[in-house]
Structures are given as C-alpha cells and as structure tokens.
C-alpha cells in the first residue's frame, strides 16, 4: 500500500511532461498509449488530491520532511499538537519536537529509514502543548523517487495521551511487579548490615524508572551513623537540608495517619523551608515507612512533572516504602540481637554460673564457667558427653534427676530448678543447683534445653549447719516452762511453743496467722503498740492480758517481748493467773473492809491502834491522824466501869474473842449503840497478837424493832400469810395467818430461810431461780409458788415480795405476803391436761388431722399428718400452705375447696384425693369442716384425711377384673355366635340338599345335589378346622415360649409371600433392628406376622404403587410391631366393632375372607398383647401390635 502511494507520488511529477509528449506526438499508436496512460494519471491525480485533503483534515497529525529531516509541511492537527504554526515549523528539524532523551534513538531510526528505505513506526515522547510531554505513535514513511533516491518522508503522529495512562499502567504494572520481586528478593537474601547499599540500589532503580527528580529516605533511628539512608536525583544539596525537630514531629504525626502527604497537605513553613534549602523546585511527596505499625521514617520524592501521581506510581512507592521499612526493622532487630549476643557472650565467659545448651540429646555448648564448677579448665575438657556428665551425678541422685527432668518435659514445663550432687574433679561431691529452661517447638517437642548451673555446696552446708543450730535452740526452748511465740513485725506467728490447751485456737496451727486475728481486739491493740515500741526502742516490752481459754477458763498472762532478729520478736509468756487472783483477792478484801458499813479497827498487842476503816472515821468523828498510834478504848462502853473493861482486855489477851453491845460517843458528843466483836489474831507479821475489832451501829435496829412490833400487830390480824425476812432471806417474823396455814410457829421458823421451810418435792426449781433473781434485783415482784405445810399438804400461793430499805438505801429486808390460789391453779391445770388429752387423742388418730386459718395456712397438725408429710416436728408444717406440700394442681384444688368452704360455710365430706407420696400413690377421703368462733364467724377449717389406699386399690382391682370378665364374656358370645352361625349355615345347606335329594326324580339333578353336598361338607370341615384353631388358642394357657428373632421371622414371612409380592409389585420396607428379639410363641408370632403382612399386600390400592412397611421398636416395658400399608384402607369409625370379628370383611375386594384378623387378635391376646388399627379409605392402614415384655 505504502509502496503504491509512493509510486503515485513519484509518477505525478511527470504528468506535465506526459501532456507535452501527447501534444507533440503524431504516432497514433503512441498517442493511444499515452492517452490511456494520461487518463490513468489523471485518475491517480484526482485520487491524490483526495488523499491530500484527507491528510490535511486527518485526525492524525501529518508532517512532511525533506531529505535532511527538516519540516516541509504539517497539517492542522500537527500544528495544533505541537503548538507550532506552519510557518514557524517549516525548516525546523523534526526531531527537535521530540523530548531530548529520545533524540538519539530517533536520529538512528531516521537514518535507518533513510538508508534502507523501510517505513518505520514506533512510540516516543513528544514535546507538546504547554511544554507538556506526551506519548505519540508515529509512522515514518520514506519518499523514494523513481530514481530510487530518498527525497524525504511523511510522518504521521497520533497522540496517545489518552491511551497513555492505560498503556502506562499496564507496562508499569508489569514493571512494578518485576521491581517488587527484585526488591523483595534482595531483602530476603540481604544481610541486615548491608541494607543501606541495597536500599540505595533500589532507590536508584526506582527513581530512574519513574524519572523522578529526587528521592530521599530518612530514618528515625541512625543506621550506620546516618539518618539519610539514601538519595537519588539531581538535587545533591538535599543532604545538607536539616529537618528541624518540629518538622520531623509534624511529619511523624501526619504520616502516621495518612498513606502519604501531598503538596496541598504539607505545612507551609516546612514547604518553604524545604524549597529554600534543598534546591528542589518542586514540592516533594512524603510517604511513611511503617513496619508492623511502627513508624520508622519517611520516603520523599519529587515527581518529574506537575501531573497528578499515577496510581501505579503510588502503588509502587507504597510497596517500595514497605520494603524499606522492613529492611530498617530488620536492621534494628539485628542490632538488638547483637547486643543480646554480646550479653550472652559476656555471661558465658565471666559468670560464675555455668551455662550449658543441650540439643537433640547432646550438649552443644558448655561454658568455661560450667566446666570450672566441675573443676576442669576450658582447654582440658571441651566436650563432655551426656553419659559422662550423667555418670558424674551422685549415685543417690542419678535416678531422681533423670526422672525429675523427664517429668518436667512430659508436663511441658518451661522452667525448673533442681538440686543435686555431682562429682568434682577433686573427687568430692559438690551440691549443684541447676536452672533448666526448656524450649519446645510448635508440635510441643523438646528442642533445646538451657541449663544454668550454680555450685551451692557452701549454701547447702551452711543450711545444714543452720538446721543443726536451730535444732539445738529448739531443744533449749522446749525446756523453758513459759509459752514462747515468735512473731514477725506485722504480728504474724512464725513459731510457737505451747500446750494445746494454752492456745486460743486448738484445732489447727496458728503459724502464719496474725495475732491480731486471734487475740481479742483490745489485747491485739496492746500487743501491736508493744511491738511497735519494741522495734523503736529495742528494749524489752511487757504486756499483761487476760484470756478466756476453752479448756483452762479465764487466765492471766504476762508477755515479755524481745527482739530476736531484724524483723522478728520473741515473746515469752507466763501464766500469772494465781498471782493475779491472790493479789486481786487481797485488794478486794481491803476494799471490802475499807468500805464496810461496819467500823473495823485493828490494834496491836498493846492495843495501840494500827488501822481503822472509813466507816469508823465517819461514825466516831476521828481523823486518821489522831487515832492511828493512839490507845483509844474503842470497845469500852460508856456504861461500863474500868474494871469491866480490864476484864474484857484480859479475856481477849489470852486469845478469846469477845462480843457485846456498847454505848459509844462520837467526838461531837452524840451517843449511839454499837454491837462489838473483838477477835484476837495470832501469828501476825509483827510477831505478836493483833486484835480485830468490828463494830456496828445498832441504834436504828433497836428503833426499828419498836416499829416492827406495831406493824406485826396489823400483820398478825390479816388472813394473808406474811413473812418478814432479812436481806439474807432468814425469816425474822411470821404472822398468825402463816402459822394457821402452814402449821409452823415463829420459833420454828426464825432464822431459817423460806425455801427450807416451805419448798417441797414438786416445787418448781425454775420458779425458785426466778425468785432469787428477783431478790437480787432488789425490786418488788410476785410469783406463784407451790408451798408445803408442815403436814405435807401442797398449796399454790401467790407470793408478793416487797423490799424494805434503810435510810441509806441499803436493802434491809423483804416482806413476803402470800395468798392461797390453789383452786385457781388446779382449775387451770385441769384445763391444760384436758387439752393435752385431746392433743394426745388427735396425735394418735390414724387419720391426718389439721387446722387451717383463713389463709389456708396450717395452724395445727397431728402426728399422722407430720409423718405423712415426712417431717419430724409440727413446727415444720405450721404456717405452711398446701403449695408448700403438694404439687401445684393439687394445691390449686385444695385452695379452691378451702375458699368455697369459707365462703359458704358448707363442709366438704369425704372427697376422694390421690396423692403421689414417696411410698407410692395414696388415696384419701378428705373431709373439711369450717370452724366457727364463739360469735359464729368462720375463722378457719378442720381437715381430716382418712387414708383409703387399700380399699381404693381393691376397688380398682375389682373394676379391672370385672373388665376382664366382661371381655371374656364378650369373646365367649362372639364365639358362640360364630359357632352357631358358621356351623349352622353349613348344616342348613346340608339339610336343604338332602331334602332336595329326597324330592328329586331327575338323575341329573341328583348328581348336581351330590356334588354340592360334597362341597358343603368340605367347607364345613374347613370351618371346623378354623374353629378348632381358635379354640386351641383360647384354651391354650401354657404355650411353649422361646426366644424369637423378629427380623428372621419377618424375612421368612416375606419369602412365603414372595409370589404375591412379585405379582402385586409391592415394595417392602423393613425397619427392624437386626438384633431385636423376644420370648414368645413361635407359631403364633409367625401367624400374626403372616396375616398382617398378607393383608397389607392383598388389599392394595390399584391406583397407587403398593408399599408395605414393617416396624419393630423395643421400649422399656413393651415391644411395638407396626405394619403399615398404603392400600385400600377402611373407615375405622364405622367398622371398629366388628373389625376383629369372624367373617368380617370391609374391603370391596373379592378375596376378602375375614378369619385372619379374628385369628390374629386371639393369638395376640393369648400372648398377652393387644392390637389396634388406624386407617383411612384409599390412604392406607397401620396395624399396631403391642407385646408386653415377659418377666422371665
């Protein structure tokens, strides 16, 4: 095509000469030839014009060049594409229009075209509009003249800018993939320390590939002492540009969020600073270097043009950045690993602990220190085998060590510690403690064992020494009688020595417990304070405390606490109970004497007064100062003479006590009566006899006696019996009524206590206690008591106790007034006993008896009810409702009943209730009667439940047996009917035939009758046979039972029925577990299966494909046989009464006979089973046979 065109073009130049020749020639032949040629030429010319137009207006830019490659012509598209007017273009070398870098190639191609005359096409980048480079497809067609010379060329250029992106994407995609592969491969094989050259190399190829102006990689952490990892491109000054910390921070913050940062997103300050210092004339794009979420630095580059970054470039740079990030990470990790290796190296070289590594069952590394522990130098013994090392272990520890380590590995333990003995080079065993670390692979198999060995011989020996010393100390401690506790600073028990009964808790150890938990709060507080003080001062602390111990009772202790270690104390605790008690006693006595309402004076041998109590001082008016040391005659009566006094003194000086009443005078001259008791005390501390003088003011008593006399006159006249008792309950006086009632005189009772006089065998001890409590309270109270007379008669007395106090408020006496209330008490007792009797009766009734309130809560239950409900006490039932005792449905029923009774007031008598009791089902006749209060209001109800389980069960049994009898009766009737009907029908036929025979005269008729007779008699025989079968079933009580395999029987049956099955093309499905079986009668069972199956096959529905299924299922108590068909079926409702009767058929089927089901039913019943049927006309039937499991 091209060559044709060039020929046309070369020929067109000769048209004028052709025309000239045509005008001039005369030769017709030549003329003809020429005109043909000219005609041809003109046609070609027209075509050429057309083609020219096409070229000028073509969508493609077309340029004509001369033989030097200079532009001769360009069409509109071309001038538009290159933004050159034709005038400007003409004369310019065409290849100036291409981008510089392709110039050489184009020149070469041009020359190729020139010299070889071959059209050439290709793609290149042209310099176009707005100085933007575009990709163009060009075709360079040489113009070759007729002379074969090269005259120039026609070039068409097609702007591929639109296609460019697509094609670029495709090419770059391939390229990117190659690059990715290359980079990944190089990283994978890279030694981390060489990462910088690799990154540099990668950057170079990346930068040059995408024609980028500048690429830099900046790392956050220095690699080979540099943050600038790599750079590429024309701006060398980039390396001198220093990012400020603020820049880096800003970049990190933004790059973490975004995949990259473009010009628009860059901070203004950073941008201007960057442009100013880096020498770059374009905005860089920043990409983050992120590996596993960690920001490692960034990659920045400037694109060659201002065009938007292509997706392929973005993808590639992203990939690239990831790879670099990976490399940096690898480098960092490598650095870390190196540090670790150094530490390990140092450890294995210089640590006193030995290190061993075991892999695949042998030692791969033994550190010098490991060998040193065993006494070997590094050079001496480089490699111990496992066996050698094992044999060094002490024979006692060998097996245990092996087992321990094996177990540790079996349990997948990661770290264990093991102490054992191993032989040192010097022939002694050393103690070694080894720390094993086990490393497992993904499959849980042991891969490597790291072992850190330590010589702990010294420690073990020291421990032993320490143990020995501790044992000695222990023995010593055991010898000390005191209790010993060792506590830590917090008060926690570390050790104790004490008898069990001396501890607060005795059932478990107190070690590890804190004394603050065990001791009462107050003591714990004191102990805490003492411990604190002890630690502060270091001085011994003493704490006294009292404890109530479970066995020893109330005890006093004194604890001496000393420091026994840096952080522990020892407390020696001594039981000081007896000391404290005696001291307390003395104090008590002293205070009793001191505060006594009597005057107490102690005088020495010379009657010099050595002690007086407070009361003496107050009554006498003396001061201690003037009385102590004086020889005041404190027991001399004003009425007594000096001689009398001397006689008393001489009496007491020989050791006899003296008592009497004296008239004394106090300092202010008041006189008063005192009773005096002088007691000589021997063996005093001072050696000689001392005198104890006790005096009591009795002036008031004397006055009171006069008062009493008046009172007693009144008291003696009352019918109530009155006693006056002193504060110690000694009878002082009784009245006449007392004597009348009890028969005691005043003389008989005075000085005695009422209890010794009045109490008898039935006097309630609790009442006595409460009287004593009442008296102790010193208040008035009353109490009903049973008192006995002198003659032994008992009386119920209402006793009123009234205390009488003296003017100082001290209890002086009680006046007891008693009234006989025996009749009242007896009456109450009788009521109570009647109530008891009633209760006893109710409790011993066999029926359940209970009372309910209006809310149906039980208020009373009897013993029978308690036992029935399975409870022990009435309290477990009182307050309960039926919902607490019975299932909801029953409780609902009871509740309804209760409400009805309460509403209407009508009792429910003997309603029958069935209760599920743990002992089985129980029948009750329950009666409920409303209870009415005195005013006729219903306030509850009485329930009586009589158990009638036995009767009820018998009734049910009876009903069942009536059912059985009825059943048998029905069968009998059926049978009778069958016998009468079936036999009679044959008999009737026989009779009729014989009659006909008699009447017949015709020989042919007679022959007919005889043959009919034969028929009838044979039918009769068959009927009799059938009946016989049934009779044998019904009478067969002892059938032979054997173990039957169900599947076997059903399969055999199907074989028997095979011809029928084939004929009817019936599908048989058996659902019988192969091992199922039962004890039964084989002939019956076979007959049942045969009849049911043959019926199912026989009565098929001609409309559908016949299908028979047999199911056998075993349950806990029974077996179920099911025969299911999709045959004719029948209306069960209609035929149910006669379904299993004899000679009944329901199918509109010529073969229906009707003995089968009757037989089957009888056989099933004889086997103790039952049969039922579900059916629907045209749908099918299911016969279900249930056999009970026989109890062998």
């Amino acid at each position: 095509m091209l060559s044709d065109e060039s020929q046309i073009i070369s020929e067109s130049t000769t048209r004028a000469s052709l025309e000239g020749i045509l005008e001039q020639t005369t030769c017709q032949n030549t003329k003809d030839n020429l005109s043909v040629a000219l005609k041809q030429l003109k046609r070609d010319e027209a075509r050429l014009n057309y083609l020219e137009k096409l070229v000028v207006h073509d969508n493609d830019a077309t340029i004509e060049l001369d033989d030097k490659g200079h532009i001769l012509f360009m069409n509109q598209q071309a001038s538009h594409l290159f933004e050159l007017s034709e005038e400007d273009a003409i004369g310019k070398p065409f290849f100036k229009l291409t981008v510089e870098k392709d110039y050489l190639n184009q020149v070469l191609d041009f020359h190729k075209t020139t010299y070889e005359g071959i059209p050439h096409s290709g793609e290149t980048f042209f310099q176009g509009l707005d100085n933007i480079t575009f990709l163009g497809h060009y075709v360079n067609r040489p113009i070759i003249g007729n002379d074969g010379e090269f005259h120039g060329s026609i070039i068409t250029v097609k702007n591929l800018t639109e296609e460019q992106n697509k094609r670029e994407a495709l090419v770059r995609m391939q390229e990117a993939l190659r690059l990715q592969l290359e980079v990944s491969l190089s990283f994978a094989n890279m030694i981390p320390k060489n990462c910088i050259p690799v990154i540099n190399k990668a950057i170079d190829s990346f930068g040059s590939f995408f024609d980028l102006k500048q690429v830099v990689v900046y790392s956050n952490t220095p690699i080979n002492d540099s943050l600038w990892l790599a750079h590429y491109g024309e701006y060398n000054s980039i390396q001198t540009f220093q990012f400020t910390d603020a820049h880096l921070l800003w970049l990190e913050q933004h790059l973490h969020k975004n995949t990259y940062i473009t010009e628009k997103q860059l901070s203004e300050e950073l941008l201007s600073s960057y442009l100013q210092h880096s020498g770059a004339d374009r905005t860089p794009h920043f990409f983050p270097l992120i590996n596993q979420g960690e920001y490692l630095g960034f990659l920045a580059f400037c694109s060659p043009t201002n065009q938007k970054l292509s997706q392929i470039l973005l993808d590639t740079v992203q990939l690239f950045a990831n790879n670099i990030a990976g490399a940096i990470q690898l480098f960092n990790q490598d650095k870390e690993r190196k540090v670790k290796e150094e530490i390990f190296e140092a450890f294995s070289q210089f640590s006193s602990d030995g290190l061993a590594i075991r892999k695949d069952g042998r030692y791969t590394y033994l550190s010098p220190s490991y060998l040193k522990i065993l006494g070997y130098s590094h050079d001496e013994k480089m490699n111990f085998s496992r066996e050698e090392l094992y044999n060094l272990i002490h024979p006692f520890d060998r097996a245990a060590t092996k087992q321990f380590l094996n177990n540790a590995v079996l349990e997948r333990r990661k770290e264990v510690l093991w102490l054992y003995r191993i032989l040192h080079k010097n022939g002694h065993y050393i103690w070694r403690e080894d720390h094993f670390s086990f490393i497992y692979n993904d499959f849980g198999e042991l891969q490597e064992t790291f072992l850190v060995a330590r010589d702990v011989t010294d420690r073990v020996h020291k421990d032993e020494e320490l143990n020995r010393k501790e044992r000695q100390a222990q023995a010593l401690i055991e010898g000390i009688p005191d209790l010993i506790f060792r506590l830590d600073r917090e008060g926690k028990y570390l050790y104790y020595k004490a008898r069990k009964e001396e501890l607060i808790i005795q059932d478990k150890s107190i070690i590890g417990k804190n004394c603050k938990e065990l001791l009462p709060r107050k003591i714990a507080l004191e102990v805490e304070v003492a411990i604190e003080r002890l630690f502060r001062s270091g001085e011994m602390q003493m704490v006294q405390y009292e404890l109530d111990l479970p066995e020893l009772g109330h005890r006093h202790y004194e604890a001496r606490m000393v420091l026994s270690g840096e952080e522990e104390i020892t407390a020696l605790v001594r039981d000081i109970t007896s000391d404290v008690e005696s001291k307390k006693e003395i104090t008590m006595l002293h205070s009793a004497i001191e505060n006594s309402p009597m005057s107490v004076i102690v005088a020495n041998q010379d009657l010099k007064i050595t002690y007086v109590n407070k009361h003496f001082l107050t009554t006498s008016g003396h001061t201690k100062k003037d009385i102590i040391g004086s020889k005041q005659p404190v027991f001399k009566s004003l009425e007594a003479s000096d001689d009398d006094y001397k006689r008393i003194i001489s009496k007491i000086q020989i050791g006899s006590p003296w008592s009497g009443e004296i008239l004394s005078e106090n300092k202010v001259g008041e006189q008063y009566w005192e009773s005096v008791l002088v007691t000589p005390l021997k063996e005093s501390a001072e050696g000689g006899t001392q005198f104890l003088i006790v005096k009591q003011n009795i002036s008031e008593i004397k006055a009171l006696n006069r008062e009493l006399r008046k009172l007693s006159f009144v008291a003696s006249k009352t019918s109530d019996s009155i006693q006056i008792v002193d504060a110690d309950l000694h009878i002082q006086w009784i009245n006449q009524a007392f004597t009348n009632l009890y028969g005691y005189t005043l003389e008989e009772t005075r000085g005695k206590t009422p209890s010794s006089v009045l109490y008898g065998s039935d006097t309630n001890q609790e009442d006595v206690t409460s009287i004593l409590e009442g008296i102790a309270k010193q208040k008035a109270f009353s109490k009903v008591m049973l008192h006995y007379t002198k003659a032994g008669d008992a009386y119920w007395m209402d006793c009123n106790f009234t205390p009488v106090f003296d003017h100082e408020g001290i209890l002086e006496k009680y006046i007891i007034v008693e009234r006989d209330i025996s009749q009242l008490v007896e009456a109450q007792k009788r009521i109570r006993s009647e109530r008891n009797l009633l209760g006893t009766i109710i409790d011993h009734l066999p029926s359940l008896v209970f009372l309910k309130d209006l809310n149906s809560k039980r208020t009373l239950v009897n013993q029978a009810d308690i036992e029935f409900q399975g409870k022990k006490n009435a309290s477990e039932l009182i307050g309960k409702t039926d919902y607490d005792l019975y299932p909801t449905h029953l409780a609902d029923r009871f509740k309804k009943q209760d409400e009805e009774i309460i509403k209407t007031g009508n009792p429910v008598i003997n309603s029958e209730v069935l209760v599920n009791h743990p002992d089985g089902k129980k029948w009750f006749l329950l009666s409920k009667i409303p209870l009415k209060s005195a005013d006729g209001e219903i306030n509850g109800l009485l329930g009586i439940g009589k158990e009638v389980t036995d009767i009820k069960e018998r009734e049910i049994e009876l009903r069942e047996s009536i059912g059985v009898i009825g059943d048998q009766n029905k069968r009998l009737k059926e049978f009778t009917y069958i016998v009468s009907h079936n036999i009679r029908s044959h008999a009737a036929n026989l009779h009729s035939l014989i009659k006909l025979l008699e009447l017949s005269t015709n020989e042919a008729d007679r022959q007919e009758y005889l043959s009919m007779l034969e028929n009838v008699s044979s039918n009769q025989l068959k009927t009799l046979d059938n009946l016989n079968k049934i009779i044998s079933i019904q009478g067969d009580t002892n059938m032979d039972l054997e173990y039957i395999r169900v599947k076997e029987i059903v399969v055999n049956t199907m074989e028997v029925l095979q011809p029928e099955i084939i004929r009817s093309s019936t599908k048989i499905d058996l659902h019988i577990p192969s091992k199922s079986g039962l004890y039964s009668n084989r002939p019956y069972f076979e007959s049942i299966v045969l009849n049911l199956c043959s019926n199912a096959i026989k009565y098929r529905n001609p409309e559908v494909h016949n299908k028979v299924e047999v199911f056998w299922t075993e349950y806990e108590n029974n077996y179920i046989l099911k025969v299911k068909d999709n045959g004719l079926g029948f209306d069960v409702e209609r035929y149910k009464d006669r379904l299993f009767g004899m000679n009944q058929t329901f199918h509109n089927h010529p073969k229906a006979r009707g003995i089968g089901l009757f037989l089957v039913k009888n056989q099933i019943e004889a086997l103790g089973g039952s049969i039922s049927v579900q059916s629907e006309p045209t749908v099918g039937s299911i016969f279900t046979v249930e056999f009970q499991k026989l109890k062998s």
Binding site: R984, A987, N989, L993, L996, D1005, M1012, N1015
Partner: protein, 129 residues
C-alpha cells in the same frame, strides 16, 4: 313375580333357586352376592319397571352386609324400592339379630336357615295378601 335373593354363599343360592323352582314359589329369582350388588340390581330393576316383589336377605356378607343394606334401603330415593318387603334369611340364631332386624320397618319376617317349603310359601301368601 320375582324375588331378589341376597346371599354370599353360592351353594345356598343354588339350593334356594332349586327350592323356589321346585315349590313353584315365583317365576323368577334375581341373585346378588352382597348388599351392594343387591342395591345396584334393585335400582336397575326399578328403572326398567321390573322390580322384584320381595327381598330374601342374608345378614353376614362381605363388602356390604345385610344391616348396611337395610340402612341404605331406607335412605333410597325411589319410594317403591324403599317400601320393598324384606325377609331376613340367616343361619344366626342370635336373639340380638332378631331384635335388631325388627327395628327396620321393611323387614317382614326373620327366617332361620335352611329355607323350607313352608317358610317359602308363608312369604308367598304374605305377599299375596
């Protein structure tokens, strides 16, 4: 005059035919094996105006027994069919059957098998009166 004889026992039917012929009871006997066939034959006969004068009916038959036949007969749309006199002829001696049979008003009598000259003539005379 014709009878409809309904019985599943072919021997009985053959004997009965011979007897009716021998004792000259009727000219014609229509036979049916069971209740359903009997109903069908009655309906046909009614259409052709050739209805039998009486039905001799067995009780125990397959497909449709005597009782069901009687029930269906009562419900028949054709009056003449509905009012056909029926003699139950059965070998059953159950009094229950006899009592039950009497509850159907078409049933004119109950005859225990075998058929005899006497009871056939009884039917004939009953029909003639």
């Amino acid at each position: 005059m014709s009878f409809l004889l309904v019985d599943d026992d072919i021997i009985f039917r053959t004997i009965a035919m011979k007897q009716i012929e021998l004792f000259r009871i009727t000219d014609e006997v229509i036979q049916a094996e069971n209740g359903r066939e009997a109903l069908r034959k009655l309906t046909e006969a009614a259409k052709s105006g050739n209805l039998p004068k009486a039905v001799l009916l067995d009780l125990n038959m397959p497909i449709m027994n005597g009782w069901d036949f009687l029930t269906q007969l009562e419900e028949c749309e054709i009056q003449v069919v509905r009012e056909l006199p029926v003699w139950v002829v059965t070998s059953s001696i159950s009094t229950d059957d006899a009592d039950k049979a009497r509850t159907f008003k078409q049933v004119k009598g109950l005859i225990n098998k075998p058929l005899s000259k006497e009871n056939l003539e009884l039917i004939k005379s009953a029909l003639l009166n």
